[in-house]
Amino acid sequence: MTERATEHVTCLGCGCACDDIGVVVKHGRITQANNACALGAAWFGDGMVPAEIRVDGQAATLEKAIHKAATLLVRAKRPLVYIAGDVSCEAQREAVAIGDRLHAAVDSLAATAAAAVLAAQRRGRATATLGEIRRQADLVVFWAVDPSERYPRFTARYTGERRASRAVIGVDVGPSRGPRDSDLRVTIAPDDEVDALAIMRAIVAGRDLDAAERFESAVDLARRMMRARYAAIVADGEPSSAAADPDRAEALVALAQALNGPTRCALATLRAGGNRSGADAVLTWQTGFPFAVDFAGGTPAYRPARGARVLLAGGEIDAALVVGSPATLPEDVAEGLGGKSVAVVGPRASAATFGPGVAIDTGVAGIHECGTAFRMDDVPLPLRASLPGPPAALNVVRTIRERLGARTHE
């Protein structure tokens, strides 16, 4: 048998987590990823990943590498566990358990969308899973984002059909522009964005106000949204050219919530791939907090302003375990890991640029490993393995956790 097809495969190339991919494997390589976009096709690649195990740059046995990783972690004074991309929730759960056991700081890729998460913690959310937006929305407002670049199939899968009964409005804020083919465009100056959202919310709440002329289009947009039967707002949760502004994130939530007075409205926040939304979910159910959790005091503490990036930059961390693909790490986190005592367990660990002491290549969740991942809207999906690969991340991380032994009570 030289050809094998796996259907209903979930892609983690971006947060869309399209689960309709048909992966064809010939002679041990992926030759097709049907339905995948270019980004997705690149994510699957040919399914070939390195299967190296290195200790201090030298090839080593798995046993030795696991032992070394456990030793390095146990000896650490101020360890960090970082959950990077392309691992399953099952592996993430073990990673958080290690953080708990070691009294470590734990952070993840979910921290990239911190502004949106924190806004939701201050106000709540008015949202929907993406299927419900596709089904219900008669007006979709893309707020300063064109999903086609970073979330290529978003519109086709979640907002794109039934154009006749659905209007699409693109809001351009400086260089962050809505989709090119929007039915209508609204332009807002970057400095006016938060004010515009506040004015729109006031209009929705029925408050009379004299908005300056330059807000006229925002006022019109608010009125238009109120006339919709079900309005959706789509905004990017990931960092873009503009700095993540907490006030902006909160103003978007507040507007979406307020629109549920006169009509219905859901705010969809775009998030990137690699199962980062899974890390958010797992950390929340195990610790009560979605990212930037610090077990240093023996219990989970929330330190949203002192996540991995800040701890690394401040020189606080002396050792780290990275679970996931090092290629997905934010640049400043990867830089901060340089010179530290680091073990990496994940896809292409051996290619890490910051010279980890231990690198254990594993399969990619969703290509070589089964398990669970979360879509950007927190919908859980199964991951399917299309071909065999290096050791499973789940097994390696679990073995390290077991090797750490029971908790020591001081």
Partner: protein, 548 residues
Amino acid sequence: MSSPARLRIAGGTVYDPTNGVDGVVRDVCIEDGRIVAELPRDAQRLDAGGMVVMPGGVDIHSHIAGPSVNHARRLSPEEHAADAMPAPRLEDATLARSGTGGTVPTTFATGYRYAGLGYTTAMEAAVAPLGARHAHAELDDTPILDAGFFVLLGNDDYLLRQIAAGETARARDYAAWLLGVTRGYAIKIVNPGGVALWKSGGSDGTRNVTGLDDIVGSTSVTPRKILETLGAAANALALPHPVHVHSNNLGQPGNYATTLASMKALGGQRAHFTHLQFHSYGGERGKPWQSAARDVMEYVNAHPETSVDVGQVMFGPATTVTADSPVEHLLATSTGGGRKWVNVDIELESGCGIVPYVYKEKAAVAALQWAVGLELFLLAKDPWRVVLSTDHPNGGTFLSYPELIRLLMDRSYRDERLKAVNQKLLGGSALLDGLSREYTLQEIAIVTRAGPARLLGLTNKGHLGPGADADVTLYTSDADRAKMFATPRYVLKGGTVVVEEGQLRRAPAGQRLSVRPEYDTAVTKDLRRFFEQNATVSFANYGAEAVP
């Protein structure tokens, strides 16, 4: 002590209502995780002299795992920060985990704390099918408890289509299929039709139902039709637990009429009506509320096929979290705004609404709710059909159960508390007429374990007869019943001693409780087509089946 394969719990005062044992001093014998009739004399003994022995607690309705619960957790970091839980000192090989509490504790904290109260089984009461895989993952991280969940069904696109088309048999097959693929335990109906209308958009007045005969999209779909279809399906499929119903108009003044109408719509067949307290109000909108507990309980008392849990409100912080999302919008906006509020419209079936909330003794409505719950308990003639619950964390957390037990068992304490609450809306309350009833220990054993186990069809739970799971709780008798029930001396789960001298010592994984009813597989062909046309999730990926 270790956790021996054979153990004689010797000389305790046993309350085992299922087997007619009411406060009798006798031994309880355990072998390989089960209760047995006898053991050799040399088997290890646990001296339970002077202790009260009951089966492990069974929670029939609690929100402990899944997408909605996790949204609620994410919403309240300050609550978690204020209630950090260090890892317990366990003696078994499991890694002890830290966590955080508050009204929506983390998964490990949930398992540990339930066990610390002597509860060993719990049902997560509302999981959208789309989130089933997530709910199972959380339950995998919830130690000790044997647990399952109820699958939301009652606002489901496919189901409502079948009802509209008069396809009753296919609706039943669908329910059976869904229970199987989600690995769920029972069918949960929340505000039938109302959530579907809320999700379909529009403005106030059109986006909820107000009674059983309101139209939901198609003229042949009404809340009544949904109740009838699913009620009949659950009984035809011989599910261990019948439909678990959260009626329309939750929390509205005057809603007792809808509650009674819903009970009558399912009259003559088994059905469970949940958090009845939230559905037992008289009065009308814009006018003062009052208690209608008497009317509702009169019906329940007279209908042996009907069961309920109370959903008691306890004063203090709570988090209201429900699939009944229009209700949460009302709560978020009617209290002057400014509250945190989460709404999630969920594809195919259900919604999610969350508002953190504090029930204050001095608030008129909270006091009424508190009183209505107690009235329901005290007016109930058959405790086997009236289960103790707070709809955790909606009416209060499960940690308030001991306090609730004290209110039921200790009249003078109850009367004292009654004087302290806002009296404004208590005019029609039976509590003011001086309900003198005090629950006995046997009745507490019924409403917290034997009754819910029987209603759930868990034949190995809630009792201490031979063959039962060795889930056993030992309390030190104390006149202060709150103290007694808050701090069991010993708790055994499947024969493992998890609590010893009041300390959590072991945390084995719990079992998953689920059903997989038979159905005519023809439905899957139609379903596959429906998913291809309507869903953003592949048919093969819906639910929570293990993937190869």
